[in-house]
Amino acid sequence: MLESQPPSAVAPRAAAIDTLRHLETPEGVEIALRVAGPVPRVLAFGIDLAVRAAICLALLPLVGLAGMGVGLLLLALFLLEWLYPVFFELRSGATPGKRAMGLLVVHDDGTAVGPSASLLRNLLRAADFLPLCYGLGLAAMLMDRDFRRLGDLAAGTLVIHRDAPPQPVAVPPHPPLPPPAPLDLATQQAVLAFAERSRTLSPARQAELAALAGLTVTAPADAVATLLGIANWISRGKPGTDGPMHPARRRDDAGPGATP
C-alpha cells in the first residue's frame, strides 16, 4: 500500500526506477498507476488458458450432435481464441485470470479500456505470440519501461495492478505530546506512517523503529508511546484545540481545483 503512494509533495521525486507511472487527471491532481510486470501477467495468462480449456471441455459433448454440434464447437473455439479477452475486458477491465492476479487493463491515460483498444491489443496477440510462446511479446515487454507488449503499444493500453482495497487506517489514539523540536513535513509524515502501521508491527519491532527515529531521549520502552503521542499531536493538534476551524483555512478547502 505504501509503495502505491504518490511521491510526497515535500520529497523531491527520485529518478523513477520503480513501476509507478504518474499522470495528471483533468481535475488537476496527479495519480500514480503501478504497471504490472511479465510474471503476474504470464500467470494470469495461464489461468485464462485453464479457463478456456475448461470451457472447451464443457462444450465437448456438443460433438454428440454430429454436424451441427461440431459447427457450434468450432464457432466457440473461434470466439474463445480471439474474443474471450475482449469480452471480459469490456465487461470489467480484466479477464478472469487477470482478475485473479489483481490486474486491470486501462488506457495509458488511466481510463477504463474501450472496445477499440481492447480489440486491438487482443487481436495483435497473434503477432506477440511469434515466433512461439509469446517470444516477441515478452521481448517487447522487457524492453519497454511500462511492460507493454506489441499489442499494448499499438492499442495504447497498460496492464496495471488493481487498487488495493482501501483499508481504514487511523493513528492509534494517545494523549498528544509536543515534539521536542519543530518537525519538517517529511519527518512528520514518517512519524504518522509509523503510527498508522504500528498495529501491524510486533512490539519489539515497534520499539526498534521508535528508537531509530531519534526523536526521543527516553528509554526504548517509552519511545513508542512518545512517538504515538507526537503523531497524535501532529494529526489532532494540542489538547483542547479540536474546536472550530480557522475561517481562513476553511476557505481554501472549499474551492475545487487547488493543487499541491
Binding site: 481535475e27 492499442a155 494529526s235
Partner: protein, 335 residues
C-alpha cells in the same frame, strides 16, 4: 488545519463517493437509486482534498485512501457511453467503406499482392498440369481433385464430408477463414512482411487450385461452388491485408511521427478495417456453407448470384457513405 478536523469535515463526501464507485464498479448500468449525477462533483471535491492532503503532509494512510478514490473515480468518470445499435448501423452503412476509401492506396497494394499472384499462378497452372505440385503436396492436390470431381454430388466438400451439416461447415469456415484474416492483420506488425506473405501465399494457392482444376475439366463444379462467396471472401482477405499493411507502414514509413506514435495512430485507423474484414468473412462463411454447396441449382443461377455479389460489393465499397455530413464520426466508426 489539522488532519483530524479535515477528516471530520470531509469524511461524508469521501464515503458518498466510495459508495457510488462501488455501485458503479458493480454493474455496467447503475440502477435508478444510484446518484450517478454526483460523480463529477464529488470526484472534483475529493481530488481537491487529495491535493490538499498531500500538500499539507497529512498521514500517508489518509493520502493513500484519497489517492485510491481519485484513481477509481477517474476510471469511472472518463468512460464514454456508446449507443451500440446506432454505431453498428453507421459503421455498416458509412464507416467501413469510408475507411477503405481513406486507405485506397494500401487497399490496391493488398489487392495486387493477393490477386496478382492468384492470376499469374492460375494461368500458369492452367497451362502446365504439373506446376501445382511445386506448391502443394500430392495428398492436398488429390483432396482438391476429389472435392471438385464432377461425380461428387456436393462440390466443395470431400466425399467423406458429404453428409455433414451445413452448420458444421459454417463453423469451420468462420474458425478457419476469419482466423486467417485476423492473423493476416496481426502479422502486419512484422513491418508488413507477415501480411504480405499471407496475401501472396493464399493468392498463389487459390490461383493454383483454380487453374489446375479448370485444366482437369473440373471447371464447372469448382467455379459454381466458389462464385457465390468469392466476392465477400476475397475482398475480406484483401481488406484484412490492408489493415496489416497499415500497421507495417507505420513502422516502415512513420512519416512525421515517431514509430510508437505512428503505430498507435495507424492501429486505431486499422480497427474499422479489421471489423469490416471480419464481417465480410463471416458473411462469406454463411454463403459458402448454406448456398455454395447446395446441389440441384443450375450453374447459370450460381454464376448470376456470384456476379451480382461482386457488383454489390464493389458498389458498396465505392459508393456507400459518400456525401455524409459526419465524416468526423466516421473516422471513429466502430471504435
Amino acid at each position: 488545519m489539522k488532519q483530524q478536523a479535515f477528516e471530520a469535515a470531509h469524511t461524508d463526501t469521501w464515503r458518498r463517493l466510495e459508495a457510488l464507485l462501488t455501485a458503479l464498479e458493480d454493474r455496467r448500468t447503475p440502477g435508478r437509486d444510484v446518484p450517478v449525477q454526483g460523480l463529477a462533483q464529488w470526484l472534483r471535491a475529493v481530488s481537491n482534498h487529495y491535493a490538499l492532503a498531500r500538500a499539507r503532509g497529512y498521514s500517508p494512510g489518509l493520502v493513500a485512501h484519497l489517492h485510491a478514490l481519485v484513481r477509481r473515480g477517474h476510471r469511472q468518470l472518463y468512460r464514454p457511453q456508446r449507443r451500440w445499435p446506432q454505431l453498428a448501423l453507421h459503421f455498416a452503412t458509412a464507416g467501413f467503406p469510408r475507411a477503405i476509401r481513406r486507405h485506397a492506396g494500401l487497399f490496391w497494394l493488398a489487392c495486387a499482392l493477393f490477386f496478382g499472384p492468384m492470376l499469374a499462378m492460375g494461368l500458369a497452372c492452367h497451362a502446365d498440369p504439373t506446376l501445382i505440385h511445386s506448391l502443394l503436396d500430392g495428398a492436398q492436390v488429390a483432396e482438391y481433385e476429389t472435392m471438385y470431381d464432377p461425380a461428387n454430388t456436393r462440390p466443395g466438400r470431400a466425399p467423406a464430408r458429404q453428409a455433414d451439416d451445413d452448420l458444421m461447415m459454417f463453423g469451420f469456415y468462420v474458425w478457419n477463414n476469419v482466423g486467417l484474416a485476423l492473423r493476416t492483420f496481426a502479422w502486419g506488425l512484422l513491418a508488413g512482411a507477415g501480411s504480405g506473405f499471407v496475401l501472396v501465399m493464399n493468392g498463389l494457392v487459390i490461383g493454383a487450385v483454380a487453374g489446375h482444376l479448370t485444366q482437369l475439366g473440373f471447371g464447372t463444379p469448382f467455379w459454381t461452388f466458389v462464385s457465390g462467396h468469392s466476392a465477400l471472401e476475397l475482398t475480406g482477405i484483401a481488406v484484412a491485408g490492408t489493415a496489416g499493411l497499415l500497421l507495417g507502414g507505420a513502422l516502415l514509413a512513420p512519416g512525421r511521427h515517431g514509430r510508437p506514435a505512428a503505430l498507435r495512430l495507424r492501429a486505431a485507423e486499422a480497427v474499422p478495417l479489421v471489423l469490416g474484414a471480419m464481417a465480410l468473412l463471416a458473411l462469406a462463411a454463411m454463403v459458402e456453407a448454406f448456398w455454395s454447396a447446395s446441389a440441384g441449382v443450375p450453374p447459370g443461377v450460381k454464376y448470376g448470384v456470384g456476379a451480382t455479389a461482386w457488383v454489390l460489393v464493389v458498389a458498396y465499397l465505392l459508393l456507400a457513405g459518400r456525401g455524409g455530413a459526419d465524416s468526423a464520426q466516421a473516422r471513429h466508426g466502430g471504435a
